[in-house]
Symmetry: C2
Subunit: 331 residues, 2 copies
Amino acid sequence: MHVMILGGAGMVGRKLAERIARDGSLAGKAVDHLSLIDVVTPMTPHGFLGATDCTAADLSEAGVAAEVLKSRPDVIFHLAAVVSGEAEADLEKGYRVNLDGMRFLLDAIRGAQAQGAWKPRLVFASSIAVFGGDMPDVIGDDYFSTPQTSYGAQKAMCELLLADHARRGFIEGIGLRLPTVVVRPGKPNLAASGFFSNIIREPLVGLPAVLPVSDRVRHWMASPRATVGFFTHAAGLDTARLRGRNSLTMPGLSITVAEQIAALEKIAGPKAVALIKREPDERIIRIVDTWARGFDTSRAASLGFLAETKFEDIIQVHIEDELGGEIPVLG
Amino acid sequence: MHVMILGGAGMVGRKLAERIARDGSLAGKAVDHLSLIDVVTPMTPHGFLGATDCTAADLSEAGVAAEVLKSRPDVIFHLAAVVSGEAEADLEKGYRVNLDGMRFLLDAIRGAQAQGAWKPRLVFASSIAVFGGDMPDVIGDDYFSTPQTSYGAQKAMCELLLADHARRGFIEGIGLRLPTVVVRPGKPNLAASGFFSNIIREPLVGLPAVLPVSDRVRHWMASPRATVGFFTHAAGLDTARLRGRNSLTMPGLSITVAEQIAALEKIAGPKAVALIKREPDERIIRIVDTWARGFDTSRAASLGFLAETKFEDIIQVHIEDELGGEIPVLG
């Protein structure tokens, strides 16, 4: 099987490539070819026995998708996107990358089909940002999309494109509305959602972290490992079971900042917690206030998608996958 | 005030132009300039005292929208679209006209704003086709979009574009999900929904009509006059009252074919009803089966949108507006 990851240099794309390389298979089938594409050349994952090609290409330019798809992958993971903050700051770029990129991809698939039978599976990274504003505490899968960011609007539009192309038989399509991924590895970044990770990742290694919102803020989270699992599970799912509703919210944990901190204390003690500095930031408070707090993901559960059920497990995943299984003892 | 109608040669666009010409005003303000645009040159409405320009232009071509908008209209009614059947038969054309057309329009508005302050009101003709498939009998305004046609997918995507551009302050945007318009004037056409009109319009003038579905089929309808009223009302609505939910389902009548026929009998007698021939058509039965049957439009009602509340009134509108107020006595 030939697997392609668009956005293969991003955090989730890289971890997905590493997982497939390690397993050597996907959805029960051996993977002999792995293609990673991104605007910067993705890294070759370790230990993969099949062929790997890592290509720098911008899918938001006309014609690029057709070129990239000449190798006719069986499964395409589409994670390439401009993130929320950038799509809000640069409207044209957000629509070009996040919407036109998907459109070019689907156009290229249709174009290739005119030259011969090929029906790839397309697993699309959508986001809970398709919801926003005045929402119930628990959002069901039949709740309407009310994005409050251009990023969310673009993801919702891509979900519609995906479903229409799946309905018309061009692809096997499935869209995964990802929770906020916590604990994100790496350095603190300026994303408005960054603090959900920062307040765990930094104190675990003895560094300070800023909490810009109230302890009472509730949000929807899953670990990077669970997120990668959503994609590998979607690769093997019988899409007929989606009944034409091709995008669905992935499972996660609806948890408050206070509960995050309590879990951190349980695992790393009060000295770790003392490293969290409360510095309220009105801009971030306002943004976070428009975000979804929780979901009813019974549909995803019935289709076999799994995530962590307590925050200690999310911290444990970070310790295992990023810190070699151990945390330093804080002096 | 300068009012522009995109799709001004279509049935609703023409009636909207005639209504504005007759009133000489819109939303309580005098209209001194009316611009009608369509792919074929729209007709000049009768009796308008202000300036009228009727232009043939294809808004799905890059650059055309910017040209058309040089006159900086205060209110833009956007009704230009490829209809459902054509968007399904020709995927590329549907996306080009129905999606790119809206995109070019919004791009042109943003581009013009870079040259000087201008924030038009954009009233967009959406459709209940954004809903489809496995639905409840009564669909609320927070129900998710599950179009089962490319047309519906394109309308849903335009709703997202509209809301995003309104949120960002480029337009005052409002999207109207129109019911099926009944009784459509003119000749029987091949649209799958045509029979809802045909079985009334034709017998009223002594002509036969074909009913291709069961009498038990239930659907959501409003008259052409009520539909025009949705647009004129939307032109004056305080968009802050939409609370960022810029598109909403318009009121209508949830009624069965049997109830339509009973109303026809009341108004035109059994001889008219006898002109309806039952010829089941599996293709149309399958299509109609995926359509919405009814809506909870309390939100639209609270914002002052009005439609007929019984089918006799819809027939009466047709007799008044299309037949000069009288129906021939059937011999």
